[in-house]
């Protein structure tokens, strides 16, 4: 689902938060071969030589992406027991399960770079690693669940489609799998909202309220403006990132405006209007201070999300222990029989 944080420096993949400089001229034969393959739009596979900074950037980005999928289960998971019908409940369970699956594909992709699952999970649980800040906002009513599908997953799809062409093979392959499943997420959300819009006045107000609260947060999901994205140029050079934050944001807005019209809601931006000359919609200022504040851990739900995640992990410890003990016992028994 959700990658905003691709440009967000954290302490996991890039210790000390050192900014990556623009590619220096190739140093070695290996580096020249790597650069040549990137230039030819080829793919890099786990066993291939790669610059340390390329590896670190990917570990940071893929693990942030994986964490976002895992934490992303929480705001929607809150609504599984309160879904308005059995049908919606089954849909929501399937969607949340998908997000868990996406997290697992991505953790596996990151592991091919030499990092361990345990280290990545420690990074998330200790607060060192970042995840998409959209999940640090609460889901206050059922319409929020629909809006997450329509807008949050919609924004995520915009972000993720270019990642299917990422230069790192395992990440690109994981993204192809994710993108195939993602379309259902957006459509089920939009459809749930369409149903509410055909309901009572109070239900229509709920939808509008959810859109009002989440719209700007969705625009921020694409990351800081190009001018303020420290890793963007390098990421583009390496074929990790294919389309800039601002360009993706614009595509998302242009795609969403007609959808909002069909749904019958307004988007909470007085500056939002079609610009004939540009062939795009103009839009207002995003509150980047709020964005960074949430990234830094001070959003309304940061503490709650992390605490829930850590508790789930701790509460599951006995299951992991038991599975391992069982496996060891089985192996010991098989060895004994063989002897």
């Amino acid at each position: 689902m959700y990658t905003q944080a691709m440009d967000i420096p954290d302490e996991s993949g890039n210790p000390g938060g050192k900014k990556l400089s623009v590619v220096p001229p190739p140093q070695s034969e290996q580096e020249a071969a790597f650069e040549a393959r990137i230039d030819a739009d080829g793919r890099i596979e786990p066993q291939d030589w790669m610059p340390e900074a390329y590896r670190k950037t990917l570990v940071r980005q893929i693990s942030q992406h994986a964490h976002s999928e895992i934490v992303g289960m929480l705001p929607e998971g809150n609504w599984i027991s309160r879904a308005p019908s059995l049908k919606r409940k089954a849909i929501l369970i399937a969607k949340v399960q998908d997000e868990g699956g996406h997290g697992l594909y991505l953790y596996s992709a990151a592991e091919t770079l030499g990092t361990s699952r345990g280290d990545m999970i420690d990074g998330l649980h200790s607060g060192k690693a970042k995840y998409s800040s959209i999940f640090n906002y609460p889901t206050l009513n059922w319409a929020d669940v629909g809006v997450i599908g329509w807008l949050v997953d919609g924004a995520a799809i915009m972000n993720q489609i270019p990642l299917c062409r990422c230069s790192y093979g395992p990440y690109a392959r994981a993204m192809i799998r994710v993108c195939k499943e993602e379309s259902f997420h957006q459509r089920q959300g939009y459809e749930a909202l369409l149903v509410m819009m055909k309901g009572s006045e109070a239900q229509r107000r709920m939808v509008q309220d959810a859109v009002n609260r989440l719209w700007w947060k969705c625009l921020a999901m694409f990351g800081p403006p190009d001018a303020d994205s420290p890793h963007s140029a390098q990421g583009m050079r390496w074929g990790i990132k294919r389309i800039s934050n601002d360009e993706l944001r614009q595509k998302f807005i242009d795609a969403t405006v007609p959808q909002a019209k069909v749904l019958g809601v307004t988007l909470p931006d007085p500056d939002l209007k079609w610009n004939e000359e540009r062939g795009h919609h103009d839009y207002g200022q995003i509150d980047w201070q709020e964005f960074w504040n949430t990234v830094e851990g001070n959003g309304p739900c940061n503490k709650e999300r992390l605490a829930t995640r850590v508790k789930a992990h701790k509460d599951g410890q006995w299951v992991r222990d038991a599975a391992l003990a069982h496996a060891q016992k089985q192996r010991a028994r098989a060895d004994k029989e063989a002897a």
Binding site: E45, Q47, D48, W49, A94, Q97, D98, G101, L104, Y105, S108, E111, S116, R117, G118, D119, I121, R173, A174, R177, E181, Q317, R320, D321, A323, L324, A325, H326, A327, Q330, R331
Partner: protein, 98 residues
């Protein structure tokens, strides 16, 4: 036994046969305590939408891979053996499909 961390679950590679008659194809990896659990997890992680009719799981440590540095040595010699391909041979048109 001390509380083992998740990293103590070994890594498995997952291969899925998408339909009867086709080969098993690599689709990803996962951590699991043993083979039976790896199969269960593979079913949940990789076949939620009827992507497969059969699954193989193999301990990742059991796979021997060719070294990328040997790529030239291993695969380039085939490049100049074009006579191994049917298109190398010119057959008169009146023979038709062969």
């Amino acid at each position: 036994m001390n509380t083992p961390a998740l990293k103590d679950w070994p890594l498995w590679e997952v291969f899925v046969r998408s339909k009867q008659g086709l080969e098993h194809k690599h689709c990803g990896s996962l951590h699991a305590a043993d083979a039976a659990q790896a199969l269960h997890m593979a079913r949940d992680v990789y076949t939620r939408r009827q992507e497969g009719v059969s699954i193989w799981v193999v301990p990742s440590a059991s796979i021997t891979a060719s070294n990328p540095d040997d790529k030239g040595e291993l695969f380039d010699p085939a490049a100049d053996k074009i006579y191994r391909h049917p298109t190398f041979y010119e057959i008169p048109e009146e023979v038709g499909h062969m």
